[in-house]
Amino acid sequence: MQDLEHAIDQWREQWAGEILSRPDLDELEDHLRQHAGPLLAKGLSADDAVWVAARHVGAPAAVIAEFDSANPTRVCRKRLHWMVLGYLSVTLIQTLVTFTVNLSSLLTAWTGASDTAVLVTAYVALALGQVVFIATLVEMARGGRWVRRLPVGIFKRIDFRQAWGIAVALLALFTAYLFIRRTLPLDYAAPPLFPTFPEQLGAGLWLHWILIVVFSFTAWSLIRKPVAHRPPLWMRWINYATAVTTAASVYIAFSLLAVIPTIHLYRVVSSESIGRITQYYAWRAWALPAVMFLILAILHRRRISTA
């Protein structure tokens, strides 16, 4: 009996990377069990019985392709899912990188080193961080299923609806945090690229909210509204455009969070170094997510059209 449960657990893990809700997978599991039942009664081992039954249920990729063609909105939902998850993973890594950069600059500045030394430390930390970032991008490009290979059991069990819940909760949390910290001591020189970034944080937050509303509405309509098997071009472009704008706006929110230690450093590190670092944030806030989503969009388009 324990063998059977173990074999079924392993079978469920094969579906971990697929966009399939838990009830749908439960229904398939019930089917698998009914198929395996008579085989077990005939004396087959649990592993063998589940293997044969799994062959009858079908390979995950083939069954998922069938689910997609039976419900075309799944394609849009899938794309949004990977975009949001991809965006959040990249944002989290970039926030960590920024924190590392800030921390190393702080430590170097405390030792009484020159501005150049502080900047060099910051860039070395940045370079190391970007290696991690690029490695993550490559992993995502290889199928967006890197989560499955993480040695953490909970990720294997996570349902795509739960992943969405976590993503939305994270967004809400960070937005709430930014609202509470509305009066940040933002008294350093703004980078010339974005004159309103970030002194007019209040205005920026409203924009951020508007973008989140637009994004949620588009996401909702994409999921609700039935479309042809291959979504029309305008819808795909809305898909990509919303993703990029939201990416940029949420990215600024995240970046501001990570900048906070730098702001506290203001009197320790020279304004020139800070200026350079913030300029870098401003550029990155728009450029990196845009590049990332272009890559994702192309990959998704290719995968969907060949499916």
Binding site: P23, D24, D26, E27, L28, D30, H31, R33, Q34, H35, H56, V57, G58, A62, V63, E66, F67, S69, A70, N71
Partner: protein, 112 residues
């Protein structure tokens, strides 16, 4: 053995007709199709569920989560009123196809 296309095309009237007899679930539906067709209609079992879900979205069948004989949860499907109408239309279509071929082949035609 029926081709893949024919199996896919006939899945809709088959599911509706089986559910017309009463509430059922995925595995039982497949077993019934296998038995009735004497193995001529072979489905990859996993393919049935997207069909069931589509019929449910179209409002032709309804589903509920119940318990199996071993107490595990199981999803049961039944025909809705719209499903009954859709089945009537399907019957007419399939009998028309059958009768057209039957006349050409000189085999007996049938009525609904």
């Amino acid at each position: 053995m029926a081709t893949k296309e024919l199996v896919a095309a006939s899945s809709r009237p088959l599911v509706l007709s089986i559910l017309e007899r009463g509430e059922s679930y995925g595995y039982a539906i497949i077993q019934e199709v296998k038995a009735l067709s004497r193995g001529e209609l072979q489905w990859t079992d996993g393919m049935l569920y997207p069909v069931l879900h589509r019929l449910e979205r179209e409002g032709l069948i309804k589903s509920r989560w119940g318990k199996s004989e071993t107490g595990r949860k199981r999803k049961y499907y039944r025909l809705s009123r719209d499903g009954g109408k859709a089945l009537k239309a399907e019957k007419t279509q399939w009998v028309n196809v059958h009768n057209t071929l039957a006349q050409l082949w000189g085999t007996p035609t049938c009525k609904i």
